[in-house]
Amino acid sequence: MSRPATTILFLSTARLARVDVASDGRVLASSVRARDEDSLRASVQVLLQAGGKPGKRTRIVAETLWTQVLSLPNASVDGLGAEELGRALAYELEPSSGLPAADAAVGHVALAQTDGALRHVWATQVSLGERDELARLVVSHGSRLDWLAHPAGLLAPEPGPRIEVWSNATLCDEPARGVQVIAAAAGRRTWEREVAAWLLRAPQAPVQLRASAELAELLASDTRVTRDPSLESEETLVAALANLAAAQDSPRFPRIEAARRARLSFGPALFGLAATAMIVGLSVWDLRTLERDARDLEAQVARVEAAAAKAQGLRREQRELSTALAQREPDLAARRSRIERAETLLAAQSERSSRLLEALGAHANPEIVLLELATQPGGATRIAGLAARAPAIEAFATALAPDMTTLGLLCEPASVQRRTGVDSGEAREFSLVVRPVTTAELAQRTSPR
């Protein structure tokens, strides 16, 4: 069996029906059953699971939808597009349906009749959540939700004055005056009054009443009203639904499209995703910036701490070096001084005797005879001799003095004595003392004058 083109689901308060229709209008399958489930979703689920795979498109006719005819001033609806008009109607419907305008999906159709400055619009309403849920349910069964509608006015076998009573709405229709929908629970006093008012204005012609026998009793006083029980027949209901499933023309009843619902349902998700993505992006950027700043700052801290540690190390080294130098430098100076003193003494002493003899030899003259040379306590050397005459002694001492100075010795003035004896003539005995220069004398010599 080929797949149906359209599946139409009918949900009244008491019955459920499903009709699968081929593209040429043939009924491929149908079923009618009593309604056991209260919720619209559960009932739709039952119908979708009851037959085979539903058609490519699914239409739902549900009695529990809110439907109403509204009369609006021309001025307020002129120039409005279908979508804007739908939003305006949602606000108008909110007090009576109790469904918040922001959460309402509205299908509407303008009625032909006018009433001066008022325009009449027939609207059907369902919550966006329920509509989307039904759409997802239909999609989960491999079909696509085409539209949702209230059954009022959809299943009429032929045009003519008629009253259709549904659980929450009653449709009153006659070709001359058009459609009126009484949005009141059937059987209430308000409902009864408004139906009676409509009947008063209705022409004197038979009026078909589709209602339960109990409700029909309430209107039995009007002789024009005849109860039409045809829709209670399964064949009639299936035929009416098949016609509705095959209908391609522009709607003469309000229907709630599914396509708009799907588009709207993506809005919050897209917004949420975009905003979250933006926040995540900003978060990543912020974290990276903070991480970089923290790294830079920590590197700066490390440099500062390293510099401080280095400075501390330098100060410690300075203390240690200063202490070590304070101990070692005087010690080195003392050792160096002792070494230099030893070297100087050794050098001086090693050459003193030979240089002394060398100097004595160099300055010897025929008028001087050296008799004795004696080392005295304290390192002095006494030089004794004879001179032919006194000036020769002076000359000898004067000549000797510079050489002694270079040896670190001092030549003290000579003591001279006339030689006693018969043959001594002018001869003089003399003695010179050559002694080491004292430290005080050395300092006196080197001090600035």
Binding site: L287, L297, E317, R352, L373, P436
Partner: protein, 192 residues
């Protein structure tokens, strides 16, 4: 369960705020903590202007290097000085060499022998020399007395040669006395 459009919008608006709150309270918190810690450390440290006494330390290091060099120089000079100082076991050989040198120069050694170190009248500064050398690790010298007959020129030549002797022989005392025949009686005391 189906959500209304209003509820969806509320959730869509709430999710970014939740993410933002997570960012601020969980992700950002440790980084903020790190930044605060680093800033506090820097504030405590203050700007680093004192990098330590670099120049002073460099000058001190130079002084230490000079000290080491001076120390090495002193040690080298000390070793050299001590090397010139005869060890006790070398003294007999040095005495022999001095005696031979005197003989070669014509100085006739009549007597020689060991004497007390302090017996000869010498420059007191030499006492300091012995103390210094002892402190450097050298041994105390021995005093050796030579009595000889010579001439002035022979003795001068001998003393000159003695200076060039490659052994420690230091003349600390020299006494000469001319004899009637013109020769000289010489008394030499050497530290060996």
């Amino acid at each position: 369960m189906s959500l209304s459009v209003r509820e969806r919008w509320m959730i869509a608006a709430a999710v970014p705020f939740v993410v933002l709150a997570f960012h601020v309270s969980v992700l950002r918190e440790p980084l903020d903590q790190r930044l605060a810690t680093a800033e506090a450390t820097l504030a405590t440290r203050g700007p680093v202007t004192d990098f330590g006494p670099v120049r002073e330390v460099e000058a001190l290091r130079a002084r230490v290097a000079a000290l080491e060099a001076g120390d090495a120089d002193v040690e080298q000079r000390k070793r050299k000085l001590l090397a010139a100082w005869s060890a006790p076991r070398e003294r007999a050989q040095t005495i022999g060499r001095v005696t031979e040198l005197l003989r070669v120069q014509g100085v006739r050694v009549e007597r020689s022998g060991n004497v007390e170190l302090e017996s000869a009248p010498f420059d007191p500064a030499l006492s300091q020399l012995t103390r210094d050398l002892a402190e450097f690790g050298g041994s105390a010298p021995a005093a050796w007395r030579f009595e000889a007959r010579t001439t002035f020129l022979q003795l001068a030549g001998a003393l000159e040669q003695l200076r060039a002797l490659e052994a420690f022989a230091l003349v600390v005392s020299l006494d000469l006395k001319r004899r009637r025949d013109g020769a000289l009686d010489a008394v030499l005391v050497l530290w060996i």
